[in-house]
Amino acid sequence: MKGTSETNLPQRYFYDASRSNLSHALKDLAEGLGRFRLLSGMAVRNFRNQYKGAILGPFWLTITTAMTAAGLGVLYGQLFGLPLSEHLTYVTTAIIVWTMISAFITGGCDVFVGNSHIFKEFPLPLSLFAYRLVLSQILIVFFRLIVLAVLLVIFPISFTQAAWLALPGFLLLLWIGFWGALGLGVLNARYRDFGQLVAASLTFIFFVTPIFWLPGRLGPYSFVVDFNPFYHMIEVVRGPLLGHDNITMNFIVTGSIAAGVPFVSLFLFGRWSNRLPYWC
């Protein structure tokens, strides 16, 4: 039998209901990250089990992405009279980024509600489930990126120095995804309408965001897309990669979102994390 020497468990639990919950929530965020082995194991097993018994396994993610991108890319490339080599890459990149964003939104709504059977039975930092979501998305995006890699072999493009900016762009999205999930998770735990509303909005957003169409096609109204935050979030990856102009604006908007979302989510999580076991 093993003694109580070195463990990841806190040696002390203190809770004062008359004090603000914020410090409790901040501790939760730190402890959640401290349980990395647990959450990475959960993420990997979850991912693996999703494709158990399927011969192609997670490569189905690759196939799904390829099919969607091929369909939208070829069809709309024809409709808009764009060269296939360019439009396919344009659509594929956006599809990969958009599916990740939408997975963060739906997964975020479910981050506490969907895991309550665990944290209502065993004391765990609640933020652990938001960290796990980020890790799962990284795993998934890897298999989706294969499509883009293959495409770039078939239709090579000349990368500029700025292409590297796609990486920090991607990291910004993960950062927004983590905090967004934390906030959405709290809101949806209290009001389940929230998840429904969000799910209903996703298809709408998909069509009004320049994912498979070019903003320039809107003519004099193309400025409208600048008010769509999802456009900027897609462009921080697609813009640098495909050498678009004016990516500064995309990075400013996405950067502002990345700076603002943590405050909103910290407010929500900081205020109500202690109610989550009761709401879920």
Partner: protein
């Protein structure tokens, strides 16, 4: 130093689903469950004004009817349920031995699941590595430990989760009903292991309806009735208090 201290703790379960208030408060208050608060937000007051101080060597038995708040109290001490009022201070590593099957993965092997469960309980990788041979031996599952546990019977699965969950010595041990597992031979072996874990823990809190178990394991007793702690003291005295309450509750 290991301690468990609760001061004036209240725990409320809010009822956010559409429960019809019209019917509430009309009939006599039932003797099971907590108090239903209908003013403002509809809530069930599961624990009210609980104060408790436990020091090393205390093995507290929780007595009370269904819905009295025994499990809620265990979950509150464990840190699962933050109270709406009062303070909780627990010094030392807590381990709730409730729902010991939680976290197990059917697709993973027995050996992998030892790690999975150990990590859930907060053990370091070194702890898990060190404890694994002993756990494996205790389960007597042999080669089955190399197979995914979805191939196990429920009894075999219980052996694995029991052996793993009891392999790490906590300072504060929380138990919700005795863990009776496996066949006759294993049951005896398991009882011995669990007793050792209990008696080597600093503080033990045990919810059970079995007085026999309480007599064997607890040296202190608390009677909880409708979320309130009506008695705290010697375990034998606790039995007497509970008998009196049950007598007056009789219709």
């Amino acid at each position: 130093m290991v301690k468990v201290e609760l001061n004036n703790v209240d725990v409320d379960y809010p009822v956010h689903t559409r429960a019809s208030r019209r019917f509430l408060g009309k009939s006599e208050t039932p003797s099971v469950g907590g108090y239903v608060v209908t003013e403002g937000q509809l809530t069930v007051r599961a624990l009210e004004n609980i104060s408790l101080s436990l020091k090393p060597g205390d093995r507290l038995g929780l007595l009370g009817r269904n819905g009295a708040g025994k499990t809620t109290l265990l979950k509150t001490i464990a840190g699962i349920l933050p109270p709406v009022a009062g303070t909780i201070c627990v010094e030392g590593r807590i381990s709730p031995l409730t729902s010991i099957l939680l976290g197990l993965d059917g697709e993973s092997t027995g050996y992998e699941n030892i790690g999975i469960r150990g990590r859930l309980m907060g053990m370091s990788e070194a702890d898990i590595r060190e404890a694994t041979p002993e756990i494996a031996e205790f389960t007597e599952l042999g080669d089955f430990l190399h197979l995914p546990i979805k191939t196990y019977s429920s009894g075999m699965r219980m052996r694995l989760s029991f052996a793993t969950s009891t392999a790490f010595q906590p300072d504060v041990l929380l138990l919700d009903e005795w863990l009776g597992t496996g066949d006759i031979v294993f049951r005896e072996k398991a009882a011995k292991r669990l007793r050792k874990l209990i008696f080597e823990s600093g503080i033990f809190v045990f919810a059970s309806h079995s007085r026999d178990m309480h007599q064997r394991l607890s040296n202190k007793g608390a009677v909880i009735d409708k979320g309130r702690m009506v008695f705290f003291g010697d375990i034998e005295d606790a039995f007497r208090v509970q008998d009196e309450i049950n007598e007056t509750d009789k219709p």
